[in-house]
Amino acid sequence: MSTVRIPAPTGEPAPAAPPAKTSPGKRSTARLARPRSRRDNIHGWAFSAPFLAFFLMFLVWPMISGAYMSLTGKSLTGANSGFIGLANYAEAFGDSDMWRSLGNTLYFTLISTVPLVVIALALAALVNMGLPAQWLWRLSFFSPFLLASTVVSLFFAWMYNPELGLFNDVLVKLGIPPVAWLNDPAVAMWAVVIATVWWTVGFNFLLYLAALQNIPQQHYEAASLDGAGGWRQFFSISLPQLGPTTVMIVILQILASLKVFDQIYQITAGGPGGATRSIVQYIFEAGFTGYRLGYSAAISYIFFGLILFIALVQVFITRKRSA
């Protein structure tokens, strides 16, 4: 799972909507919006039924059964499935490994979100200056996004190789001592972030590029007449106009980074000594390596609580902005 693709609604209207001679206005709705009929009820639910069936079976039910599991000692082997109340939660709040994984996750989120937003914006702004060979830049920056996490991890684990890797080779040639990229607890998370930025920054880059194209041309023309140069135009027009997009991208990026698992699990396996273990990896390990599904479900819900909290903060911020 890429770190960027995270669920979030948007006010994005469809592109290239079919030509509408009349707006989907009140006149036509009036005709369809006759009093609710039995037929409409049946039709509506019949059209909704397939989605609803999957939704109930593979989202709602797991949510419920997971919540119940978190109150049991259930194990992978089926042992201890009895109800134990909030014992798992109590244990989790006193579990230093859980806190450490959560801390690692927040640290990763912080140090990955900043470059993933700033570099994306810088690249988009540069490319939007009317450079030639657009397709080439898009290809370079966006194509890594199409790779599976495993491919990215294989590439970077190889480049981070202490003796045979490209990074240390370049460092040594520049006269800098080699770095233990994946074996030094202080460096390993940065190594993961570098791989992540390479992998996913192209996605935010595309979104920014799209947003830049949407800024009405006349803003710039007016500024030009006032004698504003390129930098001035960028800071006084582009940046403010990109505000809503930036808020969205930052929020999506934070929520995506919080879910990090793939590349960490594959590049460092959480090491050295747990220094890069993320909370999702801890959920995986508590459940499947340690067999403790119930405990793992409890940690899942603590993680979910954190995500909900951040989402609420987001709602609060965007409300305030629009107010």
Partner: protein, 443 residues
């Protein structure tokens, strides 16, 4: 109105069709391919075999499998290799819990207590084994005892692979610590070991001993537990009770290991790779390691001797584990395949002489007693280790590549590095273990 009603039922039916089509069309597609997948994954006579052996061990294992596949046409063994340690054991447990695991797999014998009681493994049928020529008396007592759980046999050992010492006979000769028969001089006490190591160091000019442990809990534990058991001390883990250990002995062992890592006898900053490289380039006279490093050293072309870790504290003891064949629990076991599995495992045990070339001590005694094995040097020199081996303390969370060994590393590495007191590191380790013991046993 009437028309509308009939229209409605009509529509309703169509919509149901749409819904049904979406749901069951997709499902049928899935089902179709499940069938295909089933066919692809297991032709009727395919035996899926998981193991965790890579490098030289992996190549040796593959050639043994190839031989069995070539010998008969009744079945074909298809191996899958997963990464040693937690990734392998996690996946094996998940596959067994899921009901469609491989027909047979390799496990470390010390990991079996984490699998068998939870129903993740099926027991071996001794009568069927006997039919293929494998009997309990074909295994040495310690190994056979380890293969059982609750009176059932859950694992069949292919080998035992103790933690031993390799030594460079040339360096030892120059240092004057070689006996006339070409083996290392007898060492019976910690002081004597330090003395011999210093002699070796004087010859190499670098270190006397190579011991790679940094970041490797398994490696730290192997040496520690060897020495701990040489004191004759017990290490009992009973879920629900605190660990029963002899603290003084443990601290004594830690202090001794620390005294080896003085940057003269052995480097403080040795990991697995540097230790192997150092010994292979004659930078030391002794390497503490598992027997599986033997082929690497033979390839390196250094004059090589091998022995169990000297008995420094009275009781001969060596840490070891066994690569063992297990039957992951099948929701629906196929009898024909099961017979194939028994035949396969019997052939592997009988052909384990070639496994001995990789350094391991075959568990199947008829092989060990053969003249071919006796001729295998230096393997035959440590074959007696099978009688003094000690597996990890028995608990659901111990064994090779387990969390237990990670806990040890987390708390003891700083003791070895001299950053922490032995008492502090040990007490932290035991307190971590006690936390696990206090948790409900999930197996």
């Amino acid at each position: 109105m009437k028309q509308q009603d009939s229209g409605s039922t009509n529509l309703n039916r169509r919509q149901l069709l749409l819904g049904g089509g979406a749901l069951f069309g997709g499902l049928a597609l899935g089902a179709g391919l499940t069938g295909c997948g089933g066919a692809a994954q297991a032709a009727a006579n395919d035996i899926r075999f998981w193991h965790l052996l890579s490098g030289g061990d992996g190549i040796k294992m593959q050639s043994m499998i190839d031989r069995v596949n070539a010998e008969q046409a009744a079945f074909k063994v298809k191996p899958t290799v997963l990464a040693w340690g937690a990734p392998y054991y996690t996946k094996l447990a998940m596959a067994s819990a899921g009901g469609r695991p491989p027909e047979v797999a390799i496990m470390h014998a010390a990991r079996v207590p984490g699998y068998a009681p939870g129903g993740l493994l099926d027991a071996w049928d001794l009568n069927l084994l006997a039919e293929f020529g494998v009997r309990p008396e074909d295994f040495s007592p310690r190994i056979w005892e380890k293969s059982q759980f609750n009176g059932q046999v859950y694992s069949l050992a292919l080998d035992s692979h103790p933690f031993v010492m390799l030594y460079n006979t040339e360096v030892a000769g120059k240092a004057g610590v070689l006996r006339t028969d070409g083996r290392l001089t007898d060492i019976n006490s910690p002081a004597q070991f330090l003395e011999v190591s210093r002699e070796l160091q004087r010859v190499t000019g670098k270190h006397g001993l190579s011991y790679g442990y940094l970041g490797d809990g398994a490696q730290m534990w192997r040496l520690f537990y060897t020495l701990y058991r040489q004191h004759g001390a017990d290490f009992v883990l009973d879920p629900g009770k605190p660990a029963q250990v002899e603290r003084d002995v443990a601290i004594d062992c830690l202090e001794f290991i620390k005294s080896l890592l003085d940057n003269t006898i052995a480097t403080k900053s040795g990991d697995g790779g540097t230790a192997v490289a150092e010994f292979a380039s004659q930078g030391s006279g002794i390497l503490f390691t598992g027997v599986w490093e033997l082929p690497t050293m033979k390839t390196a072309g250094i004059p090589l001797g091998a022995a169990t870790i000297p008995t420094l504290f009275g009781t001969p003891a060596a840490f070891a584990d066994s690569h063992s064949f297990v039957l992951p629990h099948q929701a629906a076991a196929d009898e024909t395949k099961r017979r194939g599995v028994y035949e396969f495992v019997a052939s592997m045990l009988k052909g384990s002489l070639s496994w001995a070339e990789a350094g391991h001590i075959p568990a199947f005694q008829p092989v060990v007693r053969s003249s071919e094995y006796a001729a295998l040097k230096p393997q035959a020199d440590y074959a007696h280790a099978a009688d003094i081996i000690n597996y990890d303390p028995e608990a659901w969370f111990t064994g090779s590549g387990s969390d237990f060994q990670s806990y040890f590393a987390e708390n003891v590495q700083n003791v070895f590095l001299g950053r922490d007191k032995a008492t502090a590191g040990w007490d932290a380790f035991i307190s971590r273990i006690n936390t696990v013991l206090a948790m409900p046993n999930p197996v």
